[in-house]
């Protein structure tokens, strides 16, 4: 018998601190698989952002830099401009990328920085214990929207792929999820493409991954996958929002 599935090299042996069933782990693996398949772990530098995934610097086996909250894409810009031969990626949550770091996100995108952005959208702040995120759904109950997100006072969720795909600097924007084997495989291809684009000098590529937060959603991991399918995907449709190479622009 031969091994057909094992831990990618670009993940360290450090056990992940994430809660049981948190899909961060799946996405970590997909990023590491992309680094493995493209043979770029040795050239890669990842930027960890503040939030649950801040300690991803212990999990990715490539060089890693921790950015201040929201500044991951500014840090990535500095890294890439300093050493264009390095393969630079950020790994960011929704609070980091779409609230405190919105300016850094929009401007890295509009500059067309040749970086790869992995965006975890789980509609909640995980690390601080379940507060409203910029991507929390209308009516969603969180610690800071105990009566449900009221759009009259808390506004509407930010649709990041839609927003960024209007910018000329963006080469590739795709929204995926990891709720099933089939969707994990789609996500895997999207993430690999986002890295391949950087190697080809195509410019800013973002993959938004609809993810679960079973703990702060108050659901079991399997129930959380159902909640994601029933509530998140309708609000955040999956698909390619922009692909300059293929001429796709939604």
């Amino acid at each position: 018998m031969a091994i057909v599935f094992e831990k990618p090299h670009a993940l360290t042996d450090a056990p992940l601190h994430y809660c049981p069933g948190c899909t961060h782990g799946i996405v970590h693996r997909l990023v590491a698989q992309a680094l493995d398949e493209l043979g770029v772990e040795g050239r890669a530098v990842g930027v960890a952002s503040v939030g649950c995934s801040v300690m991803s610097y212990d999990y990715f086996a490539c060089d890693m830099v921790e950015a201040p909250h929201g500044r991951a894409q500014a840090v990535a810009t500095g890294l890439k401009r300093a050493r264009p031969d390095n393969v630079i990626f950020t790994y960011q949550g929704d609070g980091d990328l779409a609230a405190i770091g919105t300016a850094e996100t929009v401007h890295a995108a509009t500059r067309g920085e040749n970086i790869t952005v992995i965006f975890i959208n789980n509609a909640i702040y995980g690390m601080t214990g379940g507060q409203m995120a910029p991507t929390s759904l209308p009516g969603q109950i969180t610690q800071t929207t105990p009566y449900g997100r009221d759009t009259n006072t808390a506004g509407y969720p930010v649709r990041v792929c839609e927003l960024l795909s209007t910018l000329d600097g963006v080469a590739f924007a795709q929204r995926v999820t990891v709720d099933s084997v089939q969707n994990v495989n789609i996500a895997r291809k999207a993430i690999k493409k986002a890295f391949q684009n950087q190697l080809d000098g195509k410019g800013y590529s973002i993959v938004e991954v609809l993810s679960t937060c079973p703990t702060n959603w108050g659901l079991s991991p399997v129930e959380a996958l159902d909640w994601l399918r029933q509530n998140m995907i309708p609000y955040y449709p999956l698909g390619v929002y922009k692909d300059v190479e293929a001429g796709v622009k939604k």
Binding site: E41, V47, E66, G78, A103
Partner: protein, 352 residues
């Protein structure tokens, strides 16, 4: 042999940085330092470097954090309100042991304040550059030539001690023109940075640049290690100029632009036969305590002159350990004190 050229302070800072091997500049426009960024925008492409106008000072300082993490010499420049925004990145760089240069061409504050020269960011630069226990190397030039020289020294010290360094200038120095001799580019070899996050090339364990330590003991250990470095810096890197101090009954203490005014006042006083000297701190952190303490053993009193409501005066008092009275004279809001005003204060104190 390098020739003498006439340069504006802001432009001299920029050219000196390029010649010190800094090819990565990230900034955001703000008066009165904008000529620096404009000069970089022109020069960086000529040397194959990066000039990037960021979307904010926050982004600019974090681009510096990224470039510094990659192991290159990187810098940003701003003026007072912009430096407040950079405080976040400065703290993170200190916490991540990253070398970089920040230039503050100070203007009046607080708030949006004004756009005229000021020295009201002394506390921010030396004591409160951001949250947490840390220090930043702070250099205070008082001529355009010194701006050139200190940029190079600041980069060297930042690399040596793995920490951010700041040039604390002001709108007067930034805007004035003086003849300078520039060093040749590439005189110094780049420093080896084995800690840099520039890709391990499958040849070493992965480097991690971070400032998060959830175990208090670990965080305390790291801060203690940093403070051991600070002790070495305080023991070896203090710099000050002494001018006519030896026989002085009164010593004026001033840095940067106000030191230029103070020197004129001291010269005038000497012409009138008054025994007055000047101590000009060149490093504000480490503060030149030793020079001040030594002077306090034979000087009757001191007068600090600042373009603020009196910030450095606290450090002067601490340095002389209350052995002699330390007085303060300053103007704020963007007003540069005149030599006559300072001389008047000197006269008043000598007659006391």
């Amino acid at each position: 042999m390098a020739e003498k050229v006439l340069m504006k302070g802001n432009e001299a800072l920029a050219e000196a940085a390029i010649r010190a091997g800094c090819h990565h500049f990230f900034g955001y426009p703000i008066t009165p330092q904008t000529e620096l960024a404009a000069y970089m925008a022109k020069r960086m492409p000529q040397v194959g470097g990066t000039y990037l106008q960021a979307e904010s000072e926050l982004a600019a300082i974090n681009m510096v954090l990224g470039a510094a993490s990659a192991g290159v010499r990187a810098m940003t420049s701003s003026s007072s309100p912009g430096v407040s925004l950079k405080g976040e990145g400065i703290s993170y760089m200190a916490g991540s042991d990253l070398p970089a240069l920040i230039i503050n061409v100070q203007r009046g504050g607080p708030g949006l304040g004004g756009i005229q020269p000021s020295q009201a960011d002394y506390w921010q630069a030396t004591k409160a550059g951001g949250h947490g226990d840390f220090q930043v190397l702070v250099f205070a030039p008082s001529t355009v030539q010194e701006m050139v020289d200190l940029v190079s020294d600041a980069f060297d010290a930042a690399d040596k001690y793995r920490m951010p360094a700041m040039i604390l200038a002001d709108g007067m120095l930034g805007q004035m023109m003086e003849p300078v001799i520039l060093p040749e580019a590439g005189e110094k070899q780049p420093v080896e940075k084995p800690w840099a996050a520039n890709g391990h090339q499958n040849k070493r364990p992965h480097n991690v640049i971070n400032s998060l330590y959830l175990t208090p003991e670990k965080l305390e250990d790291l801060v203690l290690e940093r403070y051991e470095r600070y002790k070495v810096i305080e023991a070896t890197e203090q710099r000050a100029e002494e001018y006519l101090v030896e026989d002085a009954e009164l010593v004026v203490v001033a840095y940067g632009a106000s030191a230029r005014v103070a020197r004129s006042a001291v010269n005038k006083a000497r012409e009138q036969g008054k025994k007055v000297g000047l101590i000009r701190p060149i490093t504000l952190w480490p503060f030149p305590k030793d020079t001040l303490k030594a002077a306090a053993s034979h000087v009757g009193k001191m007068l600090t002159v600042e373009m603020s409501m009196g910030q450095m005066v606290d450090d002067v008092r601490l340095a002389v350990e209350c052995k002699i009275p330390v007085h303060f004279f300053g103007r704020t809001g963007g007003i540069i004190p005149t030599p006559a005003e300072v001389l008047g204060e000197i006269d008043r104190l000598l007659e006391e």
